[in-house]
Amino acid sequence: MRTLLAASAALIALTTSTLAEIKIGSVLSVTGPASFLGDPEKKTLEMYVADINAQGGVNGEKIKLFIYDDGGDANKARTFATRLVEEDKVDAVLGGSITGTSMSMLGVFDEAGIPYISLAGAAGIVIPVRKWVFKTPHTEPMSCGKIFDDLKKRNLLNIAMISGTDGWGKAMREECIKMAPQFGVKVLKDEIYGAADSDMTPQLTNIKNTPGVQAVINCGFGQGPAIVTRNYRQLGIIAPLYQSHGVSSKSYIQLAGAAAEGVRLPAGATIIADQLPDSDPLKKVVTAYKNKFEKATGQPVSTFGGHMHDALFILVEAMKRAKSADKAKVRDEIEKTKGFVGTGGMVNMSPTDHLGLDLDAFRMIEIRNGDWALIR
């Protein structure tokens, strides 16, 4: 009996050691103010990894996930990053839902030499280029550029800005102010609100009373832009309102209600999957993602889960090309990603561009009848 036990124990030890696993770590803001980013990202990651494992894994190895929730706190994120490196000894890391947490973690992974793909917006994550750091979402210069393009087309060159004090709002505000002169856009008034404020009427009153304002840009994410939008209509301001892709989830329309009608924003194609022409190369990917996500979770799709979708498959394809989970090889292959069609657009990375998205991936969207409508 005892020998039998020992033999089976040895057998188990043997099988577990030969069955290697790919360890993927992820630190996301599943709770806290950015939970509407982290929550769909976590669901997307778990959903696709379960699929990949059911189909036999990557290069014959199953993926094991290590997911931590930083609650939107950059300090916590850094602690978890260290834990992923030192204790869990992961092969690659996806995540950092927001700019703040990503910026605090990227140094850890860059030093340890672990491929890291961030899901946060700010361009500062990949500029300057760091050897091991990549990202998938559109950046704030892209958002500003797309909005300014649209303003130019409509000949609305005198604008006001109202920005949140969150990492995204701040980064985008700075970028837009820097870029405005290149487009001939003048910022006549520049207002700020706290990320958790519940009333932006005073700031908007100042904008309303600034003569000559033809359009207003709101930089921010979370509930702030929804309140700005409501207050905006309550004050009866008629100038067109622009949001960033920080609001590209259905919850923004639900919260802002009728006030959201006519608001324009640049965003990835995920939220308008069914409105894309069949000829659009993104159509297949975004429709498949949208259907899968909505069926699995019962929630409307947002672009944020799509960033995780793209990050995961860029990584998985790099691992397949590298034919292993070897960190250095996988990193090199991620950098060689070419013609990858994700939910955010076509990705062509290079040693000098660790994002690889062009402006084409971005669509100008208007909110009509409580839904997204593609402006052609």
Binding site: F36, E191, G194, D197, D199, P202, T205, G236, L255, G257
Partner: protein
């Protein structure tokens, strides 16, 4: 002039919500010397339970009543399970217990409901009224009237009813109150329930304007604490005045000075009060005989 009016409307609306939370602080502080940092969570419960009950098909007025009932039950349980068993402990210990309760309630709400922001339809659905060039939301008027009604009801409860007078007696001297036969423990429990009800009503009235989520109580409690300090901790009228004043200060600060420092105003107020007038605007200077 129009912008002055606009800032005033904005400040009074936000201030009225601070006032209701500050009132809750005051009631519990009076009865038990505890500053209940879970007060903001009552506001959250009021809004969130109404949202989710209404989403489940319960008519809005019933959903609101249910939310108040839930908040009152939570207030009672908080007292019965956390405060009462530790009754011998110092005020600081009790305050720490309420902070723990606040974190627990937030966590429960995040798992039981969800982590998204929600809104409620306003009581009066209509376009904002234009008063002297400034937009006034009908819901703001509802919040202000609601606050006034609650303050009036609380006032008559405290001065006209036996239970209310027992509460005042407990507040002014617990030992003496016990000697004349008042069940002070029940009174403290009652103060938790009344505070919870006031908080929940505030949460329901405010949700159409400020939106609500599982996390909304934290900042609200902090601001309302500043308001209660400003008005004088333990003075119900001071709490209301402090709340309105803080709301106005924030609105005028954001409008006339810089919106960058809006959140700092509450903290500047706390520091100012502590340095210059620790008893607050309406509080009495505490004299302790040794």
């Amino acid at each position: 002039m129009a912008e002055f009016l606009q800032f005033t409307f904005s400040g009074l609306t936000v201030g009225a919500i601070y006032a209701l939370v500050a009132l809750g602080f005051t009631l519990i502080y009076n009865a038990s010397d505890v500053i209940n940092f879970a007060q903001g969570e009552f506001v959250m419960l009021g809004g969130m339970v109404t949202v989710f009950a209404a989403a489940a098909g319960i008519p809005l007025p019933l959903a609101a009543l249910l939310a108040i009932a839930v908040a009152v039950t939570v207030g009672m349980l908080l007292h019965r399970l956390a405060i009462e068993p530790a009754r011998g402990a110092t005020a600081v210990t009790l305050i720490i217990i309420t902070i723990g309760a606040s974190i627990l309630l937030r966590g429960l709400a995040a798992t039981f409901f969800d982590k998204n922001f929600h809104s409620l339809p306003p009581l009066i659905r209509s376009e904002p009224w234009m008063v002297g060039g400034a937009a006034l939301l009908p819901q703001s008027v509802v919040v202000l009237i609601g606050t006034a009604v609650i303050v009036a009801a609380l006032w008559s409860f405290l001065t006209r009813t036996m239970t209310g007078k027992a509460m005042l007696a407990t507040a002014s001297n617990r030992l003496a109150a016990r000697l004349v036969g008042i069940n002070t423990s029940a009174i403290v429990g009652l103060s938790f329930m009344v505070s919870a009800a006031i908080g929940a009503i505030g949460g329901i009235l405010a949700a159409p304007i400020t939106l609500t989520n599982y996390d909304v109580g934290t900042l609200l409690a902090l601001k309302a604490f500043a308001a209660a300090m400003l008005g004088g901790m333990g003075n119900p009228l001071g709490a209301v005045a402090g709340g309105l004043l803080l709301g106005l200060l924030e609105a005028f600060g954001a409008g006339y000075l810089s919106s960058q420092y809006k959140d700092a105003i509450a903290f500047i107020v706390i520091l100012f009060v502590l340095f210059v007038r620790p008893q607050g605007l309406f509080g009495k200077i505490g004299v302790e005989r040794v």
